[in-house]
Symmetry: C2
Subunit: 178 residues, 2 copies
């Protein structure tokens, strides 16, 4: 709630000027396991943020008619204020768990395929994050290196947990144990 999209944009712009397209792509790679935004959210938001003076158009390149934005003083202060507000309690929805909960009505084989899919997805996510972690070492002089590492660590640990849970599920519900 409360337009957090604004603050993601502000946060990313602290590192340099970016276009709407670049912002979306950055969120997709860096925050992939705990955040997402769509173009239909970003472009109108950029527009209203300009109107409110939080950001300003930095340049409009003729080549690809790309519009880059940069952070203003007002935006910078807004970001700092937001960082001082306690984060809201997360609420997420896991359809898989719902299906398992009501799964006594369903074919156990079908449920197994869902869990297998879940495992595969999170395993590949895990590999990706581990790859990011390795890539991060050379740039450990960057000022937010520690924070990025901690966020990555969160993702790695949770994905590991998901994979382990899925493996335990598949083991406990296998045919062999009938």
């Amino acid at each position: 709630m409360k337009q957090k999209t604004r603050y993601v944009i502000l946060g990313l712009l602290t590192e340099g000027d970016l276009s709407g397209y670049q912002i979306q792509k950055l969120i997709q790679v860096r925050f992939r396991f705990f955040w997402n935004e769509s173009y239909g959210q970003i472009y109108p938001m950029l527009k209203s943020m300009v109107e409110e003076g939080w950001i300003a158009i930095a340049s409009t390149e003729k080549v690809r008619k790309q519009v880059k934005y940069h952070l203003t003083e007002i935006g910078s202060r807004a970001l700092d204020l937001w960082l001082l507000e306690a984060p809201e309690k997360e609420s997420f929805r896991l359809e898989l768990l719902l299906k398992i909960y009501f799964g006594n009505r369903a074919d156990p084989e079908v449920l197994r395929t869902y869990v297998e899919r879940f495992k595969a997805d999170h395993l590949s996510e895990l590999h990706l994050l581990e790859h990011f972690k390795k890539e991060l070492w050379p740039i450990r002089e960057s000022d937010n290196h520690r924070q990025i590492l901690q966020v990555l660590e969160f993702g790695i640990k949770t994905h590991q947990t998901y994979v382990e849970w899925a493996e335990a599920y598949l083991k406990g519900n296998s045919h062999d144990l009938d």
Copy 2:
């Protein structure tokens, strides 16, 4: 997306007739760590589900003017069909991680309090789930006992992971190590 609220309601009604109020309360306790619904969502949904014949009014008690609903054949089949559809990829948003990521702008002490809060919240959730698990043993003859246990196990494991991550964060960012 795609009106999953419907299916949560259907799933709960398989165990017996329930009122909107009871449905909301049940979701709040049973699915607390992976699902939530508000009254503003449930009551209008119940209404439209009656119109479509998925559920029907079972009884209207005079005492507390409570309206109970029960599952129809159509609703039952709709639930079974939904269970055959692969669950959508979950997308959740963790404001805390965003704040840590951009946290080099903020006071480290403030971030610590967020993580401490996060740890405390998930520790108490963990205790609650462990309590539920203990309570579950006596009713292990129920037909969906295995599934409930697996869902609970998911919650326990993820909360443990959250708590461990928070502890590692707090250790790694403590004053003593300066």
